[in-house]
């Protein structure tokens, strides 16, 4: 395995660190940046598709006639035709709206897991998302999330405020817990309103009696300064990448900005909604296709922006469950079981569909309606963790789980 180089923190030292010194700011942030140049971890970026994305439209089994029988109006055409699926292998195609991802697949940077799910989970969005994020299906009272438990195993008392970031309004369950994590809606809104408040608030918090507030204040103001001094909220993409105006594109652009700035980013969690396609799901065009295009364009711009640095990042795309195999009476699909996961970036053994295909009857079908689970979500997440943060004890990240190996990374 090639060592995953950290982001170019020397550049960061030049551009921001010296500025700190010159202005006489506390160099704690700088010292950490220096310390972190010796560490070689990939950053983990998790994209959660909320609503239950239809894995069978994502990566349709175009080689199986049963797929066409189950979905008379929704099925995508066999590769070759106009508006048809793009060819991945003899069994699977890629939804045409995911076209922007095809070059990444061809380069071996993108892998697909078909029929991933959480054993013993549920068809309720609410519970299924919860279980995906706590990593403990069936156990509702787990206090912390699997990402946070991973970070707890890698204590880093001096870590910067941007070590674990949720680029969304609130901290998702996966990042909740004892390890520090920041939730912010976006870098462009991460600043103090008005002029000159930063120095004043920094002074007020430096004198705080409450230690947690003093520490957090220091982190927040460091992060604010880093954001402002590198003008992170405005730093343009590299390599001619063009991000769309969608929320996910904005969030991935911010992720790339943070990665480039070398602020010690190790985990990003973000999300995208609109996958609950009960009615009028659409085929090559329509509702789901629009969501897929939005996803593919955002990921593709992100990969282009990072360029070779994509090797220092592991991106995982997941959803809480898949949808029914057969389309319903409203030309949509209902809540199901297994769906698709994507892995993109460093260490991914891409260009392959993992999980495999067992047809749409017999062992391939669950409760006569859903795609049966081939791969436990936690297997994929565990392997992604090993390829990125490498927490020493995976068994306490996913307590009680010992799934089989997928071999997604190598």
């Amino acid at each position: 395995m090639r060592p995953a180089l950290s982001f170019d923190r020397r550049l960061f030292l030049k551009s921001t660190g010296l500025a700190f010194l010159g202005l006489g700011f506390a160099p704690g942030f700088l010292a950490r940046a220096v310390a972190q140049t010796t560490r070689h971890r990939r950053a983990l970026v998790l994209v959660f598709l909320r609503g239950g994305a239809d894995g069978l439209s994502f990566v349709p089994p175009v080689g199986d006639p049963a797929y066409y029988a189950a979905r008379p109006t929704l099925a995508l055409g066999r590769p070759g035709a106009e508006g048809a699926a793009l060819r991945l292998d003899d069994t699977f195609g890629l939804h045409p709206a995911l076209g922007p991802l095809l070059p990444l697949w061809q380069d071996g940077a993108l892998a697909v897991v078909q029929a991933a799910g959480l054993q013993g989970a549920t068809r309720s969005h609410f519970d299924a998302q919860d279980f995906c994020e706590t990593g403990t299906p069936g156990l509702k009272t787990t206090a912390d999330g699997w990402l946070n438990r991973s970070l707890q195993q890698l204590p880093e008392p001096g870590a910067g405020a941007f070590r674990a970031v949720a680029l969304q309004g609130t901290l998702p369950r996966s990042l909740q817990g004892a390890a520090p994590a920041v939730a912010l809606d976006g870098l462009s809104s991460f600043h103090l309103s008005g002029k000159g408040g930063l120095d004043s608030f920094e002074a007020l918090y430096a004198g705080a009696v409450d230690q947690a507030l003093r520490t957090t204040g220091q982190e927040a103001f460091e992060a604010l300064r880093a954001t402002a001094s590198a003008d992170l909220g405005n730093s343009p993409p590299d390599n001619g990448a063009v991000y769309g105006k969608t929320p996910l594109a904005r969030r991935l652009q911010d992720t790339a900005r943070l990665l480039r700035a070398g602020v010690g980013l190790e985990v990003v969690a973000t999300e995208m909604g609109g996958w609950d396609t009960h009615v009028g799901e659409g085929g090559a065009t329509g509702q789901l296709a629009a969501r897929l295009r939005e996803l593919a364009e955002a990921l593709s711009a992100f990969a282009r922006d990072l360029g070779p640095r994509l090797a220092d990042v592991t991106v995982v795309v997941m959803t809480e469950f898949g949808r029914t195999v057969r389309e319903n009476g409203n030309r949509g699909t209902d809540h199901g079981t297994a769906s698709v996961m994507l892995a993109l970036g460093g260490g991914v053994r891409g260009g392959r569909v993992y999980g495999g295909w067992r047809g749409l009857d017999g062992p391939g079908l669950f409760e006569d309606r859903d795609l049966a689970i081939r791969v436990d979500v936690r297997s994929v997440l565990g392997e992604a963790l090993q390829a990125s943060l490498a927490p020493p004890d995976l068994s306490s990240v996913f307590p009680g789980f010992s799934g089989s190996r997928v071999g997604l990374f190598g």
Binding site: F126, D130, T141, L184, V209, D210
Partner: protein, 548 residues
């Protein structure tokens, strides 16, 4: 809700028995000597039993005396609150039954189906939404619920009642985003929680256990005895959950039983086993909902009930008890010392310290058991405890986002209509109201609330509030007192917000922030007016104001 006086008196070892006529004159609240000034005592009770001091509430506590004020808070009906009630009278969804809400606020999808509108056609969808009056969309219920909560927290004189409603809602958390729950929330607060905040825990527990919001949220309405025949269920007109009809299995669902033991009563270390969870779930089979999407009231379905004998926590629940099986379980749980201890700790954590003194918890648990779970007795024991009046307790808790936002408005004598900007601010700080997803509710301790993004959001809220940029919510900034120096004005504003004199360093920081030196008056003595909005913003955003 007014409770018999004799019961209250009997419950209070430290209280002399009051008579109704003497009550207002001699409130039975005896506080331990704290050596604190009247103002400090008033600030402390307003920080803990209320959403922070406002100029009016501070004056009220000092005029009534702390003891009398606490007593009145424990008897909210004695406090006139007409202004707030009038302000809430426009929120019609809050007065409706669940059935009325289900019919008045129909989901967009249902309406679309009725009218044959294809929601995926953007034009058709836009047309439908245009035709749906804004006030008839389901989100209207959420807007009214949240607005009412913020108005009451900010302006009600019955502050402890609102603090306790928030506490018990959180203890018995349900989340608006789960299925039919949002249609049931008004009834949940109004009928299951509010009437029982000051009464017996058993009554509160029972009201929650019967309420469709909880039955739906924790799936008990779908729980049936194992091996139940779906066709038989249908024949008896028991509503069959769609999921089951689609091919799911009928049988026991343990969700409610588990949370009942772990979160509502005994606590995770309360000494129950997985077998107890299962047996409790069997007892509650059949506790369901009459047509959750049309009627939404409690219904017991005998056919779904497991009629066999059960063993719960070493006690035999005999066969054939029907719906009473559940009541037996609630009796057992409410009377358990583990429950007493769990609730005592949680209340002490809420009102005293994140890590409450064990001796206090023990005493509160004892009070709970001695009074058969009389909540007012436990509250009073708590408010009269030396631990509550200890120096460590003063300003020792970090405010939750809701507490922070509301206390900021109150500190500056403000008022609110609970409009979107205030709601969004509380959301952004990490506490979207009524939308805590897990059954654990929001955390009571500081750690999860103190993080960089949330802190920056708090500071920005403070600046926006004092600059008048939170529309629908107003604060009152003091007008410049003629002839007083900027330093004196900062001091007076700080006393009003923080109730404690500023340190020299902080004072200098604040003056510098608004570009005022102590001695930079013009030669003729004229000064630039102090930017009091900014000073107030800095004070509300300061670390001191995050504490209570």
């Amino acid at each position: 809700m007014p409770r018999p006086y004799a019961l209250l008196a009997a419950c209070l070892a430290f209280a002399s028995a009051p008579t109704p006529s003497a009550a207002s004159a001699a409130p039975p609240v005896h506080l331990p000597p704290s050596g604190w000034s009247q103002e400090k005592q008033a600030v402390h009770v307003l920080n803990r039993l209320a959403y922070g001091p406002s100029p009016a509430s501070l004056a009220e506590v000092q005029a009534m005396g702390v003891q009398a004020w606490i007593w009145a808070q424990l008897h909210p009906d004695t406090l006139e609150d007409a202004a707030v009630l009038a302000k809430l009278s426009n929120f019609r969804s809050l007065q409706m039954t669940t059935a009325e809400r289900l019919s008045a606020y129909q989901p967009e999808a249902k309406l679309a189906k009725e009218r044959g509108v294809d929601l995926t056609d953007p034009e058709a969808r836009a047309k439908l939404l245009e035709e749906m009056p804004l006030g008839a969309m389901p989100r209207q219920m959420g807007l009214e619920l949240v607005a009412a909560k913020l108005i009451r927290a900010t302006e009600s004189r019955r502050q402890l009642q609102e603090v306790l409603l928030d506490f018990w809602f959180n203890h018995f958390n349900v989340a608006a985003q789960k299925g039919a729950v949002r249609w049931m929330l008004a009834s949940y607060e109004r009928e299951a929680l509010r009437p029982h905040l000051f009464g017996s825990f058993r009554a509160l527990l029972g009201a929650v256990a019967h309420h469709p919001a909880m039955l739906f949220y924790l799936d008990n309405w779908m729980s049936t005895r194992d091996g139940l025949d779906l066709a038989a269920l249908r024949r008896s007109n028991v509503p069959v959950p769609k999921k089951l009809a689609e091919g799911g299995k009928l049988g026991l669902n343990e969700n409610y039983a588990r949370e009942l033991l772990e979160l509502h009563t005994l606590g995770v270390d309360g000494g129950y086993t997985q077998a107890d969870v299962r047996e409790v779930a069997r007892c509650f089979t059949g506790w369901g909902i009459d047509r959750p999407r049309q009627v939404g009231t409690f219904a017991f379905h005998p056919l779904a009930h497991d009629g066999g004998e059960k063993q719960v926590l070493g006690t035999t629940v005999p066969a054939g008890g029907g719906m009473d099986d559940g009541e037996r379980v609630l009796d057992l749980l409410a009377a358990s010392p583990a429950t007493a201890h769990f609730l005592a700790r949680k209340l002490a954590q809420k009102f005293v310290a994140d890590a409450p003194p064990p001796a206090l918890v023990e005493r509160l648990a004892r009070t709970y058991l001695d009074t058969h779970g009389d909540l007012s007795s436990v509250y009073l024991a708590l408010f009269a405890s030396p631990e509550f009046w200890s120096e460590q307790a003063f300003d020792g808790k970090t405010k939750t986002p809701l507490e922070f936002a509301v206390s900021a408005v109150r500190a500056l004598g403000g008022s609110t209509y609970g409009d979107a900007p205030l709601v969004k601010a509380v959301d952004a700080m990490g506490e979207p109201l009524y939308r805590a997803q897990p059954p654990t509710g929001w955390p009571e301790v500081a750690t999860p609330w103190v993080n960089a993004g949330a802190l920056v959001t708090r500071i920005n809220f403070a600046l926006a509030l004092t600059a008048g940029r939170i529309s629908g919510t107003q604060v009152v900034l003091p007008s410049e007192a003629a002839g007083s120096s900027p330093g004196a004005q900062v001091d007076s504003l700080a006393l009003r917000v923080l109730h404690t004199p500023l340190s020299e360093t902080t004072r200098a920081t604040l003056l510098r922030a608004v570009g005022q030196g102590e001695n930079d008056a013009m030669p003729d003595g004229e000064r630039r007016p102090l930017d009091s909005a900014k000073v107030a913003g800095l004070l509300l955003g300061s670390p001191e104001f995050q504490k209570q």
